[in-house]
């Protein structure tokens, strides 16, 4: 094995890890605040990716300029589902949300399939000239993904640390009852949590489609590594989710040195199970 190959895989790992991180932040925030694993999160990514496709084909926008449409689409869907269904189920029996979101994942995927069919699609056909840095090859899409993720992670950080809404989210994640007693309007913060989680998921979906292709099941197949990332980092901890995403992404790529690439999800799963055995609260000490 050559160093260059290794570095190339590392770069690919960081790229796919970025996509995982963006998805995992949302899963982690929602788990922290609403106390359930949101199984339809991957499908929100799919929704975002396809909304961007609609803007690309319908309005002729370049894909990066279509990202706001992706965010808008996923946010409307997520908040809509929360307000019509999850909100009512929250009040009666929270565990039922797991089942409901599992059903939602299936329903969202079906809607995408009805509108766009099941064939693979891309935003942009044709070959783009890659950049070369030494022996490492980088597609233009990869540069967008890395830069976009860095930007969003910084924005999430500033939001959580500096804005009062962001602090309220962290407070709710710490202790929902105390947040209510403190005067925080929990329902409002929950809606904003969905806005943020779905918005990040939409961008992750667009990035994933830029890196690979669009397909109705693209997001669902990301659920396992995304949950693995969230658990690895410590569920309920957005920073842990970023760390977990990068670790899982890099581990998945490096594993292809020894394993068939088909087993990437198994690598994520193995890391998750290992973590559940030795440190279920995750690297940054989230909930268990």
């Amino acid at each position: 094995m050559y160093l260059a190959d290794f570095l190339q895989l590392l770069v690919y790992g960081v790229i796919s890890g970025s996509i995982l991180a963006l998805g995992a932040i949302g899963v982690s925030l929602i788990f922290g605040i609403l106390r359930f694993a949101h199984f339809a999160h991957g499908d929100l990514m799919t929704v975002g990716a396809f909304c961007a496709l609609a803007a690309v084909t319908g309005l002729g926008l370049p894909v990066i300029a279509a990202i706001p449409f992706a965010i808008l689409g996923a946010v409307v869907v997520a908040v809509g589902i929360d307000q019509t269904i999850y909100r009512r189920l929250r009040r009666t029996a929270p565990v039922i949300l797991l089942i409901s979101s599992f059903g939602m994942a299936m329903a969202l995927r079906a809607v995408i399939q009805i509108i766009w069919g099941t064939q693979d699609r891309v935003y942009q056909s044709g070959i783009q000239l890659p950049y070369r840095i030494g022996d490492i090859v980088l597609q233009p899409a990869h540069v967008w993904i890395l830069a976009g993720t860095a930007l969003l992670v910084a924005a999430v950080h500033l939001f959580l640390q500096k804005t009062s809404l962001g602090k309220a989210m962290r407070a709710m994640s710490d202790n929902m009852d105390l947040a209510r007693v403190t005067g925080i309007n929990a329902e409002r913060v929950i809606i904003w949590t969905w806005v943020m989680g779905a918005g990040l998921a939409a961008v992750a979906g667009v990035f994933l489609a830029m890196d690979t292709r669009l397909h109705p099941t693209m997001g669902w197949h990301m659920m396992l590594p995304i949950f693995a990332a969230a658990i690895l980092g410590g569920i309920g901890k957005p920073y842990g989710a970023i760390l977990g995403g990068l670790i899982i992404g890099v581990a998945q790529e490096l594993s292809t040195l020894w394993l068939s690439p088909a087993y990437k999800p198994a690598v994520a799963f193995a890391i998750m199970v290992f973590m559940l055995i030795v440190r279920p609260q995750g690297l940054l000490g989230g909930r268990r």
Binding site: A168, R170, A171, D174, L178, R180, T182, G183, A186
Partner: protein
């Protein structure tokens, strides 16, 4: 209609509990403006539950809760904060991953105007918090956490403060200090309803007190009278 006129907070014959079971079976109490009122009673008597019922955290099945004459029975907690009530729960009363300063900011979430000035006022009452403002609240000692929790509640500028066992688990020195702070806060014109296990000290600073047992009122009197009451002393003050 037994809610006395002019009262700050009043619970009138409240029944309620968790799930289907009534823990409270006719609890009645009032706090007049400017008063410190202390609730004592054995473990499991329903003291915390009474406070939660007043704060909309436990369903009140029967009876009424009123704040400044307004019926607030089963109101949502965040609306009560807006109205001018503050609550420091018995446990888990700080946001552990937020810094001290952020905990205080959360207290002003509903009304952030002039937050800095208020925070300075609270740092005046609890100078220790000013020193540790950037520290995560979860990493602080029990006594310091209690200060954070009280400070957080005060940030909303309440006219009425509910404190559930503010001295639980503290060292004697901290207990003493906490009661001094409570008196100080009360002097700002804030009515106080406080559950206490350190009953003698608490009654000593209280204007009035209630003894609760089995979810019902057992005694009520001024602080000194309750301290002097032989039956109360034998049953609830450890002789």
């Amino acid at each position: 209609m037994t809610i006395p006129a002019g009262s700050l907070l009043a619970l009138d014959n409240v029944y309620g509990g968790y799930g289907g079971v009534d823990i409270l079976r006719g609890v009645t109490m009032t706090v007049q403006p400017g008063e410190i009122v202390v609730i004592i009673g054995p473990n499991g008597a329903g003291k915390s539950t009474s406070m939660k019922a007043a704060f909309g955290l436990v369903n009140v099945r029967e009876g009424r809760v009123a704040f400044e004459g307004r019926d607030i029975t089963n109101w949502r907690a965040d609306r009560l904060v807006k109205l001018g009530m503050g609550f420091v729960p018995q446990e888990h009363n700080v946001f552990p991953s937020l810094t001290v300063q952020e905990n205080l900011e959360m207290g002003a979430y509903l009304n952030p105007k002039g937050m800095r000035a208020r925070m300075d006022k609270i740092f005046g009452i609890f100078p220790r918090l000013a020193e540790r403002r950037r520290q995560a609240a979860g990493l602080m000692s029990g006594g310091e956490r209690q200060m954070v929790a009280m400070g957080r509640a005060l940030m909303a500028e309440p006219r009425m403060l509910l404190l559930d066992e503010p001295t639980a688990g503290l060292s004697p020195l901290f207990i003493e200090q906490t009661f001094e702070r409570v008196v100080e806060i009360n002097k700002l014109g804030i009515g106080i309803l406080m559950v206490e296990q350190n009953a003698k000290q608490a009654l000593a600073i209280a204007h009035r007190g209630y003894v609760l047992a089995m979810g019902e009122n057992r005694f009520e009197d001024t602080g000194p009278n309750l301290l002097a009451n032989r039956e109360v002393a034998e049953l609830f003050l450890g002789g």
